[in-house]
């Protein structure tokens, strides 16, 4: 950490190293979590927050070891309860910047209720969901994001469950910042984390994360050089939806159905493409984008599906407290106890 003095104000300038707790990181070799940790530590200096004002909260699972590796305040909670824990931390002290590191089992299975309600309330917390589509810490059972038919230790004949679509769930529950990135795309992941840090309200990033031990290659189609261009699309604000190795595949809307077309064919042009509006007031396209992964033939969107501003629970709550304090005056013990009718015994 360097200390610079600009115009008489002392300014802290952190480096990525300042955010490392310097304890041994104990994820399996090759685990995608290493990359997520590195990208968080690299971007943390730019959050504009003092180290002591940042809190990392987690539940249980491989991902949830995350807070131990950060040098900020941290709370490793119990299974599924990270969102509730983070809500308490933030609501008790809204000046803190509160982050949640969680996994698909932790947040979408046992913690599903807390997740949807945090999104609904738009409490100002940032949630990084490490989605490896498997239970890693308990050694390889299927998770609520595992694809139907998946063979795991608890589904030896293939699972018969339909998986959750995390982005659809987050958007549907009211999260005001909904994004997707990948452990194997460090630059993109850094950008998403930085943007989430600046967002006010519930920010949700699904990070597609490889678990080389129990679900290796779950996302190779999306992450590897030769297949990535045709299977993913990077969303950028105000840019047309174009993807493919030759950048010739466009996406347009036929009514409410997204259709892939060749932008160079016939009378087609790039101008026919759906233009991404990150700040769309209307959530319809956000839902459509979130459903791409459920629709065969469509690429997996990476980037911010939508972000919008609405009052946050914590800000509104404390504003109400201030208002009442102004209206009624600061509470005192006497005011508290003598509000009801009293009588004196001599």
């Amino acid at each position: 950490m360097e200390t610079k003095t600009i115009e008489g104000i002392q300014e802290l300038k952190y480096t990525a190293k300042d955010f490392s707790s310097n304890i041994d990181v104990k994820w399996c070799p090759g685990c995608g979590d290493y990359s997520i940790l590195a990208q968080v530590q690299r971007t943390s200096p730019d959050f504009g927050e003092k180290l002591e004002n940042i809190v990392w909260v987690s539940g249980i699972g491989c991902s949830s070891r995350f807070p131990y590796y950060m040098s900020t305040y941290g709370f490793h909670g119990i299974h599924g309860r990270a969102a509730a824990l983070a809500t308490g931390v933030k609501l008790a002290n809204p000046k803190l910047q509160v982050w949640v590191a969680t996994g698909d089992g932790d947040m979408l299975s046992i913690g599903g209720n807390h997740f949807i309600h945090a999104c609904r309330k738009n409490i100002d917390i940032k949630i990084l969901l490490f989605n490896n589509r498997i239970y890693g810490l308990t050694k390889g059972q299927y998770s609520p994001t595992s694809e139907k038919g998946k063979v795991t230790k608890t589904t030896p004949y293939g699972s018969v469950d339909f998986p959750f679509n995390p982005l659809r769930l987050a958007a549907g529950s009211g999260a005001t910042f909904v994004a997707r990135s990948m452990d194997r795309d460090p630059k993109h992941l850094q950008e998403m984390i930085s943007r989430a840090a600046k967002h006010k309200g519930t920010a949700f990033i699904e990070v597609l994360q490889n678990c080389p031990i129990f679900n290796d290659g779950a996302y190779f189609q999306l992450t590897e050089k030769d297949t990535k261009p045709d299977n993913t699309i990077t969303l950028e604000h105000d840019k047309p939806l174009v993807f493919g190795t030759n950048k010739d595949k466009g996406i347009k809307l036929d009514g409410l159905t997204p259709v892939v077309f060749n932008i160079n064919e016939g009378s087609n042009s790039i101008n026919d493409c759906w233009v991404h509006d990150e700040f769309d007031e209307n959530p319809t396209r956000e839902f459509l984008l979130s459903r791409f992964t459920d629709m065969p033939g469509l690429p997996t969107p990476l980037g911010i599906l939508r972000q919008h501003l609405k009052p946050t629970y914590d800000a509104d709550y404390h504003e109400q407290v201030q208002k009442v304090k102004v209206e009624k005056g600061h509470g005192t013990y006497d005011k508290l106890m003598f509000a009801a009718s009293t009588w004196e015994v001599k």
Binding site: S71, G74, H330
Partner: protein, 613 residues
């Protein structure tokens, strides 16, 4: 016409009617006036289990009982002397509880064939002689009220709604109480609805003058003021007092109060009440479920708030894992359990003391917590402060047990002076020098270092901690060391709580040992038995884990120890296993509090040579 005034020491009145008849309001007005004229009192409402039972039905009867006296009393009274019954269903439901020869004031207008049928009466009890053992005073409450409101432009339905104030006025006359307090209350309450205010005021006055001028009332009763300790008093219900106690703890400690809670009968009023105190900066988080209620409170505690969660039995079960987290992370947290009849959904609106084992043992692993209990509605105030004090000082979860009977019962609270409140305070660590998250002080308490404090950044969690340093540790010896520390820390609290006090002889034949809401009935029962020549002493536990230091000695000073409880003997079992002492049990699990008479009888039984088993 000459009316006699008869001085009596204590009276128990019950108002009963349809849930729409305003009986709770009538009762609480009578209570306020009674408190202000200086009687000691204790009240208990009886709500119907269904929210909107059909009008006039047995299931829809709502009651309010008030016991008031010129001496010190502790219970709302076993059986009423006077019943005000607004309809046949109210009469039917309540008659079995009345004293022989009790006075019953009935609203005869409601005794029509429809209401009699709804109350499942085959014949009119006012006419068939079935009430011959009582003093029945028939009053045409509805008709007289409507006459009194003649000329007001209210609908007949609105006028009919005022009849509870007529009944109240009549009771004020009967017990020689002023009507001004209620008149003033109506004035403020209905400031914006002058017609309604006027109607209720008129009904109240009409009821009062009706008593004065009719011949059916020949006697008035006078209950002289009680000799209570000097001070300024207010009436409180248990849940209200609990809420006030935590706000007071917040003021005293200077910490923000944070409540994470999920509505549950009979604890919801604490959440409702605390939601009002935004002027005190209280943060109430109505969580999505019980687990979030406690976990958000743990998060708030980590952030430096005085953190609280409130619930009842089923909710305590759901919070159990999280209490373990608070034990492991050694964060201050108060968990209030307003006990109700269990297990499962059980009897949500009824009282019981069957969560003591859960409070003591209901967690996996070795996870001791501090357990305290309130003994009366007003005591909920003090015990909330005490629970806060201990949680903060010892960085531990504290479970405060109250119950449904305390939650809705009321009694006067002698408002303590601010400087006399328990010393609720927190030491927030700010000095980074030699800071380690699990470095313990002389009480084995770790420092409280909250986010936002520079230089104290650290990580905690549910995994076992390395002694002193707080990092994750799987070392076998370390685990045992930490388990022993957590246990020893709770045991150290014994030096910080008062000794148990024996009321009555300090040694002798029989001691009654109690905890929680049975205090009042047991105290009065002991007095009653003593009047009949059966002497026993009383010791009451407000602090359950740890027990007061002198408890064993106190118990050994008596030949017999009787433990009355509203469960199957949970305290008795813990006492036996802790002290290897044999104790006698007296148990009742009917969702009802002990009656004074039951305790009295039990004492006589035990002292008469029968151990009561």
């Amino acid at each position: 016409m000459a009316k006699t005034v008869q001085v009596v020491e204590d009276v128990t009145v019950r108002f009963a009617g349809d849930s729409g008849d305003g009986m709770q309001l009538t009762g609480s007005q009578f209570t306020d006036t009674t408190a202000i004229v200086g009687n000691d009192l204790s009240t208990l409402p009886d709500f119907p289990a269904e929210i909107r039972a059909p009008a006039g039905s047995l299931a829809g009867v709502s009651g309010f009982q008030l016991h008031f006296s010129s001496s010190d009393i502790q219970t709302p009274g076993d059986s009423p002397d006077i019943l005000v019954a607004m309809n046949p269903a109210a009469l039917k439901v309540n008659l079995k509880d009345m004293k022989p020869n009790a006075t019953i004031i009935v609203n005869t207008n409601a005794f029509d064939s429809k209401n009699l049928k709804l109350a499942k009466y085959d014949s009119n009890p006012l006419e068939d002689g079935s009430l011959s053992g009582y003093q029945v005073i028939p009053v045409e409450l509805a008709k007289l009220t409507s006459m009194a409101l003649d000329g007001l432009s209210l609908s007949p339905k609105e006028k009919d709604k005022c009849k509870n104030f007529f009944a109240l006025g009549l009771m004020y006359w009967m017990f020689n109480r002023p009507i001004e307090i209620t008149l003033n209350w109506l004035e403020t309450k209905f400031k914006k609805k002058p017609e309604i205010m006027e109607a209720n005021q008129r009904a109240l006055k009409a009821g009062f003058y009706y008593g004065e001028s009719t011949e059916i009332f020949t006697t008035r009763y006078d209950v002289k003021p009680a000799k209570l300790p000097s001070g300024i008093y207010r009436n409180v219900m248990g849940n209200e007092a609990t809420a006030l106690g935590f706000v007071a703890a917040s003021v005293k400690s200077g910490l923000q109060l944070f409540l994470g809670s999920y509505p549950i009968t009979p604890a919801s009023e604490i959440l409702q009440e605390l939601s009002k105190y935004k002027d005190h900066g209280v943060v109430t988080f109505q969580a999505e479920d019980e687990i979030s209620g406690i976990v958000s409170a743990i998060g708030a505690s980590f952030s430096g708030s005085l953190a609280l969660t409130t619930t009842s039995g089923p909710g305590l079960s759901l919070k159990t894992e999280a209490i373990g987290l608070a034990v492991m992370t050694e964060l201050p947290l108060v968990v209030v359990d307003v006990q109700r009849g269990g297990p499962s959904t059980g009897l949500p609106t009824k009282t019981e003391q069957a969560d003591l084992f859960q409070a003591f043992y209901g967690r996996h692993g070795e996870a001791p917590v501090c357990v305290v209990a309130a003994k009366s509605p007003a005591d909920c105030f003090i015990m909330s402060l005490e629970a806060s004090r201990l949680a903060l000082k010892y960085m531990t979860p504290v479970i405060l047990l109250t119950d449904g009977y305390l939650a809705f019962g009321s009694e006067p609270l002698n408002i303590p002076k601010f400087e006399d409140l328990p010393d609720v305070k927190a030491e927030l660590r700010t000095d980074p020098e030699e800071f380690h998250p699990y470095l313990r002080n002389e009480n084995l308490v770790r420092p409280w270092a909250v986010p936002g404090t520079p230089g104290l950044e650290h990580r905690i969690g549910g995994l076992e901690k390395k002694d002193v340093y707080g990092g994750i540790s799987y070392e076998p010896e370390n685990h045992e060391i930490m388990i022993n520390y957590r246990k020893a820390k709770i045991e150290k609290i014994v030096n910080d709580i008062p000794d148990i006090v024996v009321e009555g002889d300090q040694s002798g034949e029989l001691l009654l040992l109690s905890w929680g809401s049975t205090y009042g009935a047991i105290r009065e029962g002991i007095r009653g038995a003593a009047r009949l020549g059966y002497k026993s002493s009383h010791a009451h536990l407000n602090y359950l884990n740890p027990f007061p230091k002198n408890l064993k000695e106190v118990l050994s000073n008596f030949k017999k120890v009787l433990v009355p409880e509203l469960n199957l003997g949970q305290l008795a079992t813990i006492i036996r296993s802790t002290y290897l002492l044999e104790v006698l049990q007296y148990n009742k699990v009917q969702g009802q509090p002990f009656k004074v008479a039951e305790i009295e009888k039990k004492i006589i039984d035990v002292l008469g040579g029968n151990n009561g088993n």
